[in-house]
């Protein structure tokens, strides 16, 4: 088996490194029974400084669980998450505070993620107070200008803003204490088309100007192609393909990635048949034998149905996939 953590052509220590992370949930499965849900099942990933990593997959594939483990709201069953080489394991208050200084999160729903009773100023000042910053007002005003909010927005409450404006506030709150990494969990899906473009551009500008790293969780492959430097595709708790964005989109290797790309509704392809993936992901309580994707895979062979999950195959220096049907180059 190849060493996945070294697949990126960087010598420098990665900002974030996830090593064989597993997240299990004990879930009641009917009368007096409980089942073990393996939401994340041996994931290794790394994010370099200033890089944007896209994590894609359907709902239930474990991408949000992984995000929660990175910000520290979910415990790992096994494996490690290293931030600048330091493991994030203990979940004490001081540890959490130190992590919050470096890792912040932007949530999907800007209507639910802001406190409805606190003004924008109070919400943006709170992280600064917590981390002991001085000149707080100046920092808030500068950050508001940076994300495109007018100064008079400071004293207003979240309900006075539109969805796009609220997402700007959420982004400002995530960035105000100058984190190294921002985890964005579907930050665009609640927004309208024209607002979406504004927020994508804002995130790209901030990434470049502040040297920020982004983990962009999304199921929209068109957005991911636009924003990301690297892309990881997740299916049923495992990464099935990972690589440089260009490799992923130009030399797509895994049939699942191909189906996801095919499912993007491309307006210029109007009138063409919808390329679709049949069925829904299997239950993570009882994953299928062999390759987890074989029941839905358009090119599954008999060999895909038996044994364990296929081992990763290295396709180029910056691209690998987990499919039994591709041959190593």
């Amino acid at each position: 088996m190849i060493d996945l953590t070294c697949s990126a052509p960087f010598q420098e220590e990665a900002l974030l490194r996830i090593e064989d992370a597993r997240i299990h949930y004990r879930v009641s499965a009917g009368w007096l029974r409980s089942g073990l849900l393996k939401a994340v099942n041996g994931v290794s990933l790394s994010i370099q400084r200033g890089q944007c990593l896209g994590l894609v997959g359907e709902s239930g594939c474990g991408k949000s669980s992984l995000a929660q483990a990175i910000v520290g709201t979910t415990r790992l069953e096994s494996g490690r998450i290293l931030l600048e080489g330091e493991p994030l394991t203990r979940c004490g208050r001081r540890e959490r505070l130190r992590r919050a200084r470096k890792v912040q999160m932007v949530w999907q729903d800007p209507f639910a993620s802001l406190n409805p009773r606190r003004s924008v100023m109070e919400q943006l000042e709170a992280p600064l107070k917590l981390h002991g910053f001085s000149d707080r007002r100046d920092r808030v005003m500068a950050m508001m200008a940076r994300v495109g909010l007018r100064p008079d927005a400071a004293q207003r409450l979240p309900h006075e803003f539109s969805g796009g404006q609220r997402q700007r506030i959420a982004i400002a709150r995530a960035l105000i204490a100058e984190p190294k990494l921002v985890v964005c969990d579907e930050p665009l899906s609640a927004l309208d088309v024209s607002i979406r473009a504004q927020i994508i551009n804002l995130l790209l500008d901030l990434q470049r100007e502040l040297g920020l790293s982004l983990l962009m969780i999304s199921h929209d492959l068109a957005v991911v192609e636009h924003m990301c430097d690297r892309v990881a595709v997740m299916y049923l708790g495992r990464i099935v393909e990972e690589g440089d964005w260009r490799e992923i989109f130009e030399h797509t290797a895994h049939p699942y990635t191909r189906s996801l790309i095919g499912a993007v509704a491309e307006p210029l392809a109007a009138g063409t048949a919808i390329d679709r993936l049949s069925g829904e992901p299997p239950s993570p309580f009882s994953p299928p034998s062999g390759c987890a994707f074989h029941p839905r895979c358009p090119c599954a062979a008999p060999s895909c149905r038996v044994g364990g999950n296929p081992d990763p195959v290295q396709l180029s220096s910056a691209h690998w996939a987990r499919c039994g049907l591709i041959k190593e180059m």
């Binding site: 088309v193 473009a197 199921h219 989109f249 993007v264 491309e266 307006p267």
Partner: protein
């Protein structure tokens, strides 16, 4: 009387009463749909597209009123029907599939009873006969093991399955018109394509007219034959789906298509940034007097601020409402 289109909104106007003021929220919306045709209505939140759906189903209530225009379905003006006739019409001739299947389904009734209810209410069948019809309806929307699933409650089903149940209920009585209001927005991309294909396929076979309301331009482009674009309560452009995206005529449509992240675009142009539409959608109380897009329009002239544009025809056979279109 000459036979008009199968379904038609003709200069539909909806107003919102606010104190002494009456704001026009939907202004002279006209759209025709033929038997078995799928027509898209796209626009951003607040553009009035869902209000059109509610008006068709007779669900407009105070402080909103239908202040003008007509809605024809098979020659009958729905905007003038009384409460009782409207109630019988809903579910029978006009059905709506809403965005959120979990809130649209009754959590305390089995799905079999919820589908069967349609046959009991509108067709006068017995409960036993309705149950058989419900099983057939479930099979039609490709729910596996329909006979076993029929006694399930909504919470036992996945999101995709629930939306299939909604489709089965909506199509149970063979409606003349189906309105899909953001029917797949809450679903995964892979499921979206599947559910849309199911709706289009079933309706084309039955000759049901479909009004597909969405903010997802890509999805609408693939499923619909024609697409109308709404901005601030008005249709600004209507064209065959292909032409709308390859040759948009209204500056708003052009900006919207330009702001869409597209597969392959970054590989071609090397550009990561997307083009933006500057500014915000105006508030209902602050709609401009002339063209409602004028304050954000890159090519607006003085005439645009003075008077609302009338529809002008475009080469593809559609229409656009822009003063500067020739």
């Amino acid at each position: 009387m000459t036979r008009g289109p199968f379904f038609m909104m003709d200069n539909l106007c909806i107003s919102l009463a606010h104190g002494r003021w009456l704001h026009s929220v939907v202004d002279r919306v006209s759209l025709a749909i033929d038997r078995g045709e799928v027509v898209g209505l796209v626009g951003e939140s607040g553009s009035g597209k869902s209000l059109c759906a509610l008006a068709i189903a007779g669900l407009i209530a105070s402080p909103l009123t239908i202040s003008g225009g007509r809605i024809f379905l098979e020659g009958v003006d729905l905007a003038r029907l009384s409460g009782e006739r409207l109630r019988r019409l809903r579910g029978d001739q006009v059905s709506i599939i809403f965005q959120e299947p979990m809130t649209a389904l009754n959590p305390l009734m089995t799905i079999g009873d919820q589908i069967g209810e349609m046959f009991v209410l509108h067709r006068g069948l017995s409960r036993r006969a309705a149950r058989d019809r419900a099983i057939a309806a479930l099979e039609e929307v490709q729910v596996p093991a329909a006979r076993r699933r029929i006694d399930d409650y909504p919470h036992q089903l996945s999101g995709g399955m629930r939306q299939r149940i909604m489709i089965a209920i909506a199509l149970a009585c063979d409606p003349a018109l189906l309105i899909a209001d953001e029917a797949t927005t809450a679903l995964d991309v892979t499921l979206q394509a599947e559910i849309i294909a199911l709706i289009v396929d079933l309706c084309q076979r039955r000759g049901t007219a479909v009004l597909m309301i969405s903010h997802d331009l890509g999805l609408v482009a693939r499923a619909c034959s024609r697409v109308a674009v709404m901005y601030a309560g008005r249709i600004v452009e209507e064209q065959p789906a292909g032409a709308l995206f390859s040759d948009p005529r209204h500056p708003y449509t052009q900006a919207l298509v330009g702001a869409l992240p597209r597969l392959g675009q970054r590989r071609l142009s090397g550009q990561r940034r997307l083009s933006e539409i500057p500014g915000l959608v105006p508030r209902i109380s602050e709609y401009p007097k002339g063209c409602r897009f004028a304050p954000r329009c890159p090519i607006a002239e003085s005439v645009c601020e003075r008077m609302p544009p009338e529809p002008r025809s475009v080469p593809s056979g559609g229409e656009t409402r822009c003063h500067l279109h020739d």
